[in-house]
Symmetry: C2
Subunit: 288 residues, 2 copies
């Protein structure tokens, strides 16, 4: 199966699971609506697909339980977007071409929608896997030593010129913000699907490269695409005093760095022999 076919098979299944279960498992209609608004706003489902593709790469079955875990990851990712967009954070009005949650529903509602999606996502992962280990992986990845830690460093260093050329700081911040959660998708699949030690090592290295690439890709989208293409305000990082790989290296060197990471990631997959996982790396072509 190609990456395209895999994506075409599983994306509608993920989408319906999310829509159906946000309706059936949230008692209050209005809260359900506010949560669904952001979850069903047309995300690429990259993280759940990555979890499922990793399972596929190690010949592990995808049943309803695995879809529940995959969709739990998407709930958590959506929570992070809602909170990142808040006025006190990045203060964004649009996301994926639609009004952000706080613009649509109000600030308290947006904070609470995020606060509702996070534990619900973790619950789905716990129930789908019946594994405290998977819960430990995901909570570590989105906690103070992961995604939230990265978001804090981002907020704390915005308009702080002293870190603008500190590549260690910027690498660390971008890894925490984006890489950790992406790596956790692969790590949970490796754990859940009982990968062999050698598969595990290669897949985790692939995840490391893929996660790091993703943030550079996202920074490049900000300058390469128009707002209409990206579905959100672009050319914004530089204006708002954000420090990232792009402001550190510039466009040309960022592309070189991204190409290097992709080549390394591809190399990890040589012995795994998964066309589907390799296909994830084509995503980056549009900014190269």
């Amino acid at each position: 199966m190609t990456f395209k076919e895999f994506k075409a098979t599983w994306t509608p299944i993920i989408d319906s699971y999310l829509a159906d279960h946000l309706k059936s498992e949230v008692n209050d209609t209005k809260i359900s609506q506010i949560m669904s608004y952001s979850v069903m706003a047309g995300g690429k489902r990259l993280r759940p697909l990555l979890f499922l593709a990793t399972l596929d790469a190690i010949n592990s079955k995808i049943n309803d339980e695995e879809i529940r875990i995959a969709c739990g990851i998407e709930l958590i990712h959506t929570y992070s977007l809602i909170h990142d967009d808040l006025p006190a954070m990045d203060n964004d009005d649009y996301r994926r071409g639609k009004l952000t949650s706080h613009k649509k529903w109000g600030e308290a509602e947006a904070i609470l929608a995020g606060d509702a999606l996070l534990p619900m996502g973790i619950k789905w992962i716990a129930q789908g896997s019946n594994s405290a280990k998977l819960v430990a992986i995901i909570t570590e990845a989105v906690g103070p030593n992961g995604m939230v830690g990265g978001q804090y460093l981002d907020i704390d260093s915005t308009n702080n010129k002293s870190v603008a050329d500190n590549s260690d700081f910027i690498n660390k911040m971008e890894w925490l913000k984006t890489g950790c959660l992406i790596k956790a998708c692969v790590e949970m699949a490796v754990e859940h699907g009982n990968a062999s030690p050698s598969q595990k090592e290669l897949l985790l290295q692939f995840a490391q490269d893929f996660g790091r690439s993703y943030q550079i890709y996202d920074d490049l989208v900000d300058v390469v695409e128009t707002s209409a293409e990206a579905g959100k305000k672009t050319h914004k990082d530089l204006e708002s005093g954000k420090n990232n790989t792009l402001t550190l290296l510039g466009i040309t060197k960022s592309r070189v760095e991204l190409n290097k990471l992709i080549a390394h990631a591809q190399n990890c997959l040589k012995d795994i022999n998964s066309d589907i996982l390799t296909g994830f790396l084509d995503l980056y072509k549009k900014v190269l």
Copy 2:
């Protein structure tokens, strides 16, 4: 052992565990400091103590793993206080006699401190229990059908006179806001400590009564105590247009209701024979 002795034994152990592990398990010193500021602000540790006391009541051992679970609950409780105090929510400047997190550190920092404490608390529960079931209990209790759902109903109904005399709505809102998490402490202990079916039934009924009482108690504190006694602004609910049991029933009838719940809770404990759990109900004496 009496409730007083139990509390005097375990409170310092909970306090040191929290202080030590927020330091050793959070990599970034500044984030650790912001999280610790609120966690170490002098809370009564009611929820972790309730978890431990329930274990004790069913003769289940308290080791390091159980302390980790108990402290995980406290992290989650603290997250909820930080987010409830935010400008977009209850907009409180003081909590437990100290500046609230957003007043002390800034709004983005407070949102992120909460966002860091929630997954970290869940992680501690997952690791201490090695049980996906406990994770499902806690995440259900604090998600859209629990605490966050209650907070949403509270925000949504503030200054809405049409619900002011709707006792079903108010009971539901207060149960979700406060009762759910308190009940989850008992439910996790019952599950973790393998209570017998009859113990389980009695303890869950006790938890139901205790959880419901706690919100009425908290509403009464708002009118009965001065700000100095309560460590936060009091006489605030009525001013800010909040609907709760107290605005519904008035002081006298709220006290009657609270006494009724306490009597019922005490009755559940008759056959459990736990002086320690019974002692929790004395907490309410100061508002009766």
